[in-house]
Symmetry: C2
Subunit: 203 residues, 2 copies
């Protein structure tokens, strides 16, 4: 039953996220006032707060679109993983890291991470945590598949190792977005080296 009210709500929500995405990308998260998002979306300030708990919550909605694309891209590695385990993990992390700045600036990532740490129990924080969790599980699923294929030893704990690998990559990603001067090739190489160290020891 899509009444007028329902349709208007969806439309307003879309306009808010689209305006926010455009403005954040151009001026950065901190460079954009809620008032401006409201103007561009053709709604009032109060309306944005009827849809989202905070300015950060709007950002997470934008980030979420990107992360879901990344996860979807990552599935292609799971479908047909490289034979050598370390190469498979590299391929997945390569996708994560290269896609991460397609639509989001480093400043936007910093803001998103920052707020998810400050308010882990807010809608924003939980949502960001779920995105992280989905990514981590994708890494674990990759390891599980590699294990089934015999690419990694049967003694490996897929959950623990997957989490360590993901955390290590994620920490490097955090350092990457903290350092404006670092380019994507540098972080990919750093992650590759760390994963290699881990996988060689363990696989």
């Amino acid at each position: 039953m899509t009444g007028l009210r329902q349709r208007q709500k969806i439309d307003r929500d879309r306009r808010i996220v689209e305006a926010a995405a455009r403005l954040f990308r151009e001026f950065g998260f901190e460079g954009v006032k809620i008032e401006t998002i409201a103007e561009q979306a053709g709604v009032s300030v109060g309306t944005i707060y009827n849809y989202y708990e905070s300015k950060g919550d709007v950002l997470i909605a934008v980030v979420s679109l990107e992360v879901n694309e990344v996860i979807s891209a990552g599935e292609s590695v799971l479908t047909r993983p490289p034979a050598r385990a370390a190469d498979a993990v590299d391929a997945l992390f390569d996708i994560y890291l290269r896609h991460s700045l397609h639509y989001l600036s480093k400043e936007m990532w910093r803001a998103a991470m920052s707020m998810s740490i400050l308010h882990p129990e807010s809608r924003l924080g939980r949502h960001y945590g779920q995105l992280d969790e989905k990514l981590c599980q994708q890494v674990c699923r990759l390891l599980a598949k590699l294990k089934r294929q015999g690419s990694i030893g049967g003694a490996i704990d897929v959950e623990v190792t997957g989490r360590i690998l993901f955390n290590t990559m994620n920490m490097s990603f955090m350092n990457f977005v903290k350092e404006d001067a670092m380019d994507v090739e540098t972080v990919i190489e750093a992650v590759r080296r760390q994963s290699e160290t881990m996988m060689t020891l363990g696989g």
Copy 2:
């Protein structure tokens, strides 16, 4: 040459940090207004901003005191490390994790981490980064010593492995402060398991 001006400056600074530490611990970082810190320290709001760039910068000054104590406590492990490598790393991380909440609440840690990510190039961000770096180097120094003693294999890259271990511990610590319900024993056990996995593979 300690003129009156010099002494007053040092004294005011001390009063600001002491007031902030006390208030943050009691009411949390977000629960304290700069105005209140100013009142308690017997200075004006503007004066605090002559000494610190932001409210977060004041927090980092408080955090810094704590981290320096932690590093100093960690040195005792370096002086006389347990024979088995995994035990030595555990002992060091145990100290880090247990000391971390002596004077700082989880909420204060969240605020400090949050802001160091949001503004990595600010005074606050660089200062926090330096603290992290000192801790990471302490881990590497421990590994170097273990290597010299023959507790870990000579093929291990101390810098890379040390960073992975530190990052892994740090990520667990981040999850710990994000989750108010988690107690310190739980995070210590989780870190122990992860370090064990790494050290067993590598050592």
